[in-house]
């Protein structure tokens, strides 16, 4: 079957198996910035935004989200023009191996869209589905708080 998505603002059409999950479809079509790992929805490495809301793409059926807007980490900024969250994660040292980072940043991005002044508890709650096994979480929380500061200073999207 064919599905259409608007990925990072660009309309794309893919041929899929009706039982496939979104993660596999996106990676097969070049979106290797989305990482895959558990296929159970427990690690969050595969997080993407679907209509602005963070989801584990390994548990979302690709056919179910036909027609939706999907944002990957490349959709919020890049090397030349990083989003304040991307810059903050690097500056604060919240990145080590980097495998969980795209998903974690997207969860943080969705949080800041809803709540531009989160408490530490809000940040921890928003990132609770994104597991990190090397950097740890203290730097990630600090990075989100630093991104809030950068956004307030006007270095926003």
């Amino acid at each position: 079957m064919k599905v259409k998505y608007i990925i990072n603002g660009k309309e794309e059409e893919y041929e899929i198996h009706p039982g496939e999950v979104l993660l596999d479809v996106l990676r097969r079509n070049g979106h290797s910035e989305i990482k895959g790992n558990c296929y159970l929805g427990t690690c969050g490495a595969c997080t993407v935004l679907i209509d602005g809301e963070p989801h584990t793409s390994c548990t979302i059926l690709a056919a179910k989200v036909n027609g939706k807007h999907i944002t990957t980490i490349k959709g919020i900024g890049d090397l030349n023009n990083p989003h304040p969250l991307q810059k903050a994660f690097v500056d604060v040292g919240a990145v080590q191996c980097g495998f969980c980072t795209p998903g974690t940043i997207l969860s943080a991005y969705a949080l800041l869209k809803k709540n531009p002044n989160p408490t530490d508890e809000d940040i921890k709650k928003a990132l609770d589905g994104n597991l990190c096994r090397c950097t740890g979480y203290v730097q990630q929380v600090e990075a989100v708080k630093f991104a809030v500061k950068l956004l307030k200073e006007g270095k926003d999207e």
């Binding site: 079957m1 198996h17 009706p18 039982g19 496939e20 999950v21 596999d24 296929y39 159970l40 929805g41 427990t42 969050g44 997080t47 809301e53 963070p54 989801h55 584990t56 390994c58 548990t59 979302i60 059926l61 056919a63 179910k64 036909n66 969860s107 709650k125 928003a126 990132l127 609770d128 589905g129 994104n130 597991l131």
Partner: protein
């Protein structure tokens, strides 16, 4: 990783009637998809047809004379964000919701999907069962309202081959009711090793009626009728809380699985039963 290899076709019906017609035409080979978490994590290889409910406008939380109506496609996140749920039962329902699963999964798990699957570890089933929720089943032509208790007494999976869960209704309880739910996890994102919900009606300190539901035991949530009977007519007190804890520990039907033992679940049931009664006592002051 293609887990659902057998899927041949998917449907996007626009009405409940159309959904049920597709369901009936494919029988056991078709499955209705709520959030889709369960089917993607625990795929059923027999299923060939998936029916997505996303176009049926079943995502809502609204007030009505019958109670608060929660559409089947409402996610846990939708519930958390609902002003009606924030205020419901003094916030006791709202407070438990952010503890369930993770933000990412709360965006996917639907109320209808949780009730229709009745997974043993579901906190949503224990929550709504504890609140004595009513399920509205619909075939698109007529609706039938059944209590969650009656729904689970039936062969509910068979019922869901002929109808779908349209919404759940929770009563707007008056101030003489008290509700609390507890769940035990080893870490913040774990699934519950045990959960318990209690709804009490009191007059002053006297318990007029009580509803005790336990889940993740590891069997699915069930109504512990004898615990409700035990409390009826008794006065809230610290002694009663301890007695009740002992009673629940002695009578609860729990078992052992790979995650924990029967003995541990019994101990948890004692602690939670006692703790909830102490909370109710505080609330009654």
């Amino acid at each position: 990783m293609l887990k659902l290899k057998g899927i041949e076709e998917v449907y996007y019906p626009q009405t409940i009637k159309e959904t049920v017609d597709i369901l009936r035409s494919h029988g056991d080979l078709a499955e209705v998809v709520g959030g889709g978490l369960d089917i993607s994590v625990f795929p059923n290889p027999r299923i060939k047809f998936l029916i997505f409910l996303d176009n049926l406008n079943l995502s809502y939380v609204k007030d009505s004379s019958e109670g608060i109506k929660i559409g089947a496609m409402t996610t846990i996140t939708n519930l958390i964000e609902s002003e009606l749920i924030k205020d419901y039962m003094g916030g006791s329902m709202h407070s438990i919701l952010p503890e369930i699963a993770t933000e990412l999964l709360r965006n996917q798990i639907t109320i209808g999907g949780s009730l229709g699957k009745r997974e043993p570890y579901s906190d949503i089933v224990t929550l709504l069962y504890g609140l004595n929720g009513k399920i509205v089943l619909s075939d698109g032509e007529w609706d039938e309202i059944v209590s969650i208790n009656d729904f689970y007494k039936e062969n509910f999976k068979r019922l869901l081959k002929e109808r779908i869960i349209k919404e759940v209704i929770i009563e707007k309880y008056t101030k003489d009711y008290f509700f609390s739910m507890k769940r035990y996890v080893r870490n913040a994102t774990d699934i519950a090793l045990f959960n318990m919900a209690i709804l009490l009606k009191t007059e002053g300190n006297e318990i007029i009626s009580a509803r005790v539901v336990a889940g993740s035991r590891p069997k699915p949530a069930y109504l512990m009728q004898e615990a409700g009977e035990f409390l009826k007519g008794k006065e809230l007190s610290e002694d009663l809380a301890e007695e009740f804890g002992k009673f629940v520990e002695e009578h609860i039907e729990v078992g052992t699985d790979t995650r924990t033992t029967e003995e541990y679940r019994k101990n948890l049931s004692h602690v939670y039963a006692k703790r909830i009664l102490l909370e109710a006592m505080e609330a009654a002051k």
